[in-house]
Symmetry: C2
Subunit: 429 residues, 2 copies
């Protein structure tokens, strides 16, 4: 048997044991991990220094170096996020519904861990700490694969976390495992009988390549092509302010706006003001024919509307109706986050009903689509899936449920045929 299957089987066995670790032990484990990270910070920073100097030798881009760096400040932030996780309510063991099927035959639907999660992430070693902590809180086993550029940091972190966990409770053996090579993770992606969910955290290319290589369910998003539609009944000052925020507040992220759609009747008034503000911020404007009748912008093709720039570049299109805006978004967007600016409540409702995206927004910035801002606490990721979990995903996304039926010897034969017993199906609060 290959070593990765063996590791995954150990994870699966661990996941069964984790199902019954009570909240106080899980929280105690999180606290122990936090303490251990604090204690061992010198060793962690040393490992990171070696990764960093190697990365510099390999001429890694400075933005990547910045993400790779795991210093005292970042360790402190990791510890803070573990502490905030401790204070969060238990995501597992929640009774989601309770029903008396018949006298003393009671059905409960109870939240529980998913099982074994495979996580692949790029550069940032803090992702390893965060994901491990989320899995401890939710009772899942996890197999981690970080970027090779952070190999030593990740190995040090995984060893420290794993040791702290097992010292609190022996059932945590193999609950967190670190894979070192890309080939190992490729192999893992084939083990759909053992791995229950894959979470990719990184570039669109990474997510797309993982999606292509596995049958295991994936929680994530490959692209963030977000729109703001400025309606004919928009407050134009608000429209300028909100679309500026959506594009410029942090253009490198998935919930930043990539395309601005403008109703033809306000195009001239809105675009002329907006263009000045955006040009001052250094935004490169690209526009369809009608846009360029009003402002200076680079010509663009239809295909450009499906481009995620993640940069200070903006596609602009003039539309005739809200319906055309909706159609454009469903066709060219990535079903991530899309907003309408309008005073008309009915138009807003139509937009929010018909735009098939994880987050739909009215009179606010697409940048709000985020687990922290949505009040979910720690964020597992943002999903554009149509099953399981959609949009910003909190701890709940790492849980599923099981059905628990308790009786006193009831059999199905008694509920079948002439004179059969009848089900009550009475909801119990």
């Amino acid at each position: 048997m290959d070593s990765i299957r063996k590791a995954a089987e150990a994870s699966k066995e661990a996941s069964y044991r984790l199902q019954s670790i009570p909240l106080d032990v899980r929280n105690k484990t999180l606290a122990a991990v936090a303490i251990e990270l604090k204690k061992r910070k010198t060793a962690i920073i040393e490992a990171n220094q070696i990764d960093l100097s190697e990365a510099k030798k390999n001429a890694l881009a400075s933005a990547l170096l910045e993400r790779l760096k795991y210093d005292e400040q970042k360790i402190k932030e990791s510890i803070q996020s573990i502490e905030s996780l401790i204070s969060q309510e238990d995501p597992v063991g929640k009774v989601l519904s309770r029903m008396e099927l018949d006298e003393n035959l009671v059905l409960e639907k109870v939240s529980c861990p998913i099982g074994v999660i495979g996580v692949v992430f790029e550069s940032r070693p803090d992702a390893l700490v965060q994901i491990s902590a989320l899995c401890i809180k939710s009772g899942n086993a996890v197999l981690l694969k970080g970027g090779t550029e952070a190999k030593r940091t990740n190995e040090a972190l995984a060893a420290i976390i794993s040791k702290a966990m097992v010292e609190v409770d022996k059932r945590y053996k193999h609950a967190v495992q670190n894979l070192s090579t890309r080939e190992e993770f490729r192999r893992l992606l084939e083990l759909d009988d053992l791995i229950d969910l894959i979470i990719p955290r990184g570039s669109n290319e990474l997510v797309r390549s993982i999606k292509a290589a596995t049958k295991i369910p994936i929680l994530g998003h490959a692209a963030g092509i977000c729109h703001t539609y400025v309606d004919e009944e928009a407050d134009l000052d608000m429209a300028v302010k909100v679309s500026y925020d959506a594009k410029c507040q942090y253009p490198a992220v998935c919930n930043a706006m990539e395309t601005l759609l403008v109703h033809k009747d306000v195009a001239k008034a809105f675009l002329s003001v907006m263009a000045i503000k955006f040009e001052l911020a250094g935004v490169e404007l690209r526009g369809d024919g009608r846009t360029r009748q009003h402002i200076k912008a680079r010509p663009m093709n239809e295909e450009d509307f499906s481009t995620e720039y993640n940069d200070l570049i903006l596609s602009i299109k003039v539309v005739d109706t809200p319906a055309e805006a909706i159609e454009h978004i469903n066709k060219f967007g990535s079903h991530h986050t899309d907003a309408i600016i309008t005073r008309n409540k009915e138009t807003a409702r139509q937009f929010m009903d018909h735009v098939d995206s994880a987050s739909v927004m009215w009179n606010c910035s697409t940048r709000f689509a985020d687990g922290y801002r949505y009040g979910l606490g720690a964020e597992v990721g943002i999903s554009t899936n149509k099953t399981h979990a959609r949009g910003p995903v909190g701890l709940e996304g790492l849980t599923i449920y099981k059905w628990r039926l308790s009786g006193e010897g009831q059999i199905v034969a008694d509920y079948v045929g002439p004179g059969a017993k009848k089900f009550r199906h009475r909801k119990i609060p």
Copy 2:
């Protein structure tokens, strides 16, 4: 562009329109479908007669002929199930949570249709009616592929249903489409950019072959290897009664028991009584070495414990502890439905915590694991997935949610940096 991609694109477009069809129109559509089925029953039965006589010519097994038959009685049952669906509460548009992020910045998590569902089913034409009705109620578009042996019946049904729908509301155009060849469905399985969920209804072989052929999420189960564990503290009369029901009440189905696990201290007393009852019912018993010390049974290998018989055959194993039973179930079972018989509440809790199955049961028959018995109304299927929906799945399994954020011009920049506004994150009931 190939014709199947074209059909799937038409489904996708239809799915956007369906998002906004209100409950009263959806219910009116269900009523219209029921009326039309009643009116056109002669044509349906005629089409079915041709399928049946062809199937007889091809020497189809009698059990399959029985399932293929769609006569006046079965049409009546289909209509009744549509009528009961009309009375069920709306699965979409439910506000699952509501939170004030800040003053007049309100976030809602609202249930909505998944989008486009691909369904493949064998023989039974009533499955076509049931699935179409479930999709109408939940606002999903559906692409159907039935067995070739039911080709004419399925075509007649799909045409009648689709026509009735479009007559009620033109937005239903292409909402239900029928595929005629296996090759077309194979092609559909590749369209993971357009199809959101695949539901296979049929044999384990069918489910397995579909799983192997697609990256689209699947709702279903490939196997039903269900266990009953008779604990040392079991009421043995109850254990005999419940395990008899689990095996014999309907052995051909996925929630019937395939393996009986017995604690060593009650093995002799329990097995000797049980064996008499099971032999009278014509159940072939297969047992491990310790079982055969107590009763007559065919010898068996360890591999046999992962066999789904779907027949009057039973594997039996004697175990030393509840923990050994749990380990056996997690290793050899299919994570579908497993039961414990015991008087000990703590042992039962341990069993239900540690057995990693969609349904875990205490002192009752595995045969209860079913959407109707669980009070879910119409059943979409039974899932052994660890994401989205698990166990018997009702209408809720055809829904997901979207996030709706409504503001009055709020921007993220105001919540960042020194002097930033703070989020309230106040839950609203």
